[in-house]
Amino acid sequence: MNLWQFMLQNRTEVLELTFEHLKLVGISTFLAVLVGIPLGILITRWPSLNKPVLGGANIIQTIPSLALFGFLLPAPWIGARADRLAILALALYALLPLIRNTYAGIQGVDRSIVEAGRGMGMTDRQLLFQVELPLALGVIIAGVRVATVISVGLATIAAAIGAGGLGEYIFRGLAMVNNQVILAGAIPAAAMALLADVSLGWIEKRLSHL
């Protein structure tokens, strides 16, 4: 039985796991965007927070993913269900590229443009929403893109704690020493990562201002 026959035969399960995978990545990235972009903006306003915030996000990034799942296990509510745990862990990993790119994007806006706006009497809020964020959008989307692609890959490991997703097939295949089963999880995951990369890359290009 070849790979395609296997996937066709198990298409409901493949679709189900793909959907689970998408859910893990989607929700976690959404939460990370909700936290990471404001944090990135915050550290452009309070430079003294720059080091602790970026440092913290950096440290999270260095924790091996299996260990992070383990650390979060005793947490109340979160630890009670595997998918919550996986979503939180994935969101934490996604923070660094989001914070860093938001910060770099805003810092990278031409200072003469910002100063012109300030000199004309724009308030800090007007400058942020009308000038800095629109001009930094391309770089910020690039951060979302990196975070999403990393997340698609990392989410396969979530199956190790029973959170589901395409990692199920990979771990099952490893246990069965069956390459076809491994590939049945790996190929859709890789396709998902590529798709996210290409589509967010396209958005990034559309929103970038020179």
Partner: protein
């Protein structure tokens, strides 16, 4: 009418100094004990080489910088007592790199201040058309983006934007410095025409003596953070003051 305020100069510097804390070494003084008055409706040119304190002087006026000591009054009121946003909105600001917003088209760039001042949309649109005509641009340009304009057009848009809410004071920081000679001469001529009609209080920064003599009601010569002299065109041309003489020699005759 407050007669005493009306008779005061539009901008007054009283013993104004500006220092920055250098990294490690002692504080660096960018501006030392500046005393200066800008009269209503005149074009005061700040002339000097890079690092002489011209731009610093300009940024003190719209409080992008605040004096380390001394007092600076705009419309008879110390800048530190002004609501900074109000102060800046009554002062038009034109800089060399223009600072047009690349993600806004010409119309949105020009209407920036009227918009944040909540003018009604039809009044804003009418004002944009009026301003485009004033600075010699075709109204078709309104929907274009800054990257689609020539240097001269961009600089004209920059001037229109600064004039949008009809501020009584204009600060211009080497506005024509990056233009080719012919475009620059064109814009200088138009500036003179415009100023004849509008009678704004203008503070104009340049390092170009010809430009200073052409545009300035008076010329304030600056060097190393100090005001060396402040003279009319004729006084400057006849001046024997060493730095003024050095400038005249550097630019050659006839001026």
């Amino acid at each position: 009418m407050n007669d005493s305020a009306e008779n005061r100069p539009a901008i007054e510097f009283r013993h104004v100094s500006y220092r920055v804390n250098g990294n490690g070494d002692a504080a660096r003084e960018l501006l030392h004990d500046l005393n200066l008055e800008v009269q209503r409706g005149e074009t005061l040119v700040l002339l000097g080489r890079s690092g002489s304190g011209k731009t610093t002087t300009l940024k003190l006026i719209n409080r992008l910088l605040t004096p380390s000591s001394g007092e600076l009054r705009v419309e008879a009121r110390p800048t530190r007592d002004w609501d900074v946003i109000r102060l800046r909105r009554m002062i038009g600001y034109v800089i060399q790199e223009v600072g047009l917003f690349p993600h806004f088209n010409v119309e949105r760039n020009i209407s920036l201040v009227p918009k944040i001042e909540n003018w009604p949309a039809d009044r804003i649109h009418a004002r944009v058309l009026e301003l485009l005509q004033l600075v010699g641009l075709n109204s078709e340009i309104a929907s274009r983006y800054p990257r689609e304009l020539s240097g001269g057009q961009r600089q004209r848009v920059g001037v229109a934007r600064a004039l949008a809410a009809d501020p009584p004071i204009l600060l211009m920081d080497e506005p024509f410095g990056a233009l080719d000679l012919i475009t620059r001469a064109e814009l200088q001529r138009e500036f003179l025409e415009l100023q004849k009609r509008l009678r704004k209080t203008v503070v104009f920064v340049t390092h170009d003596l010809r430009e200073a003599l052409l545009l300035g009601t008076r010329i304030a010569l600056m060097e190393a953070g100090k005001l060396v002299s402040i003279q009319t065109r004729e006084e400057f041309l006849n001046s024997t003051e060493p730095l003024a003489a050095a400038y005249k020699q550097a630019f050659g005759t006839p001026l």
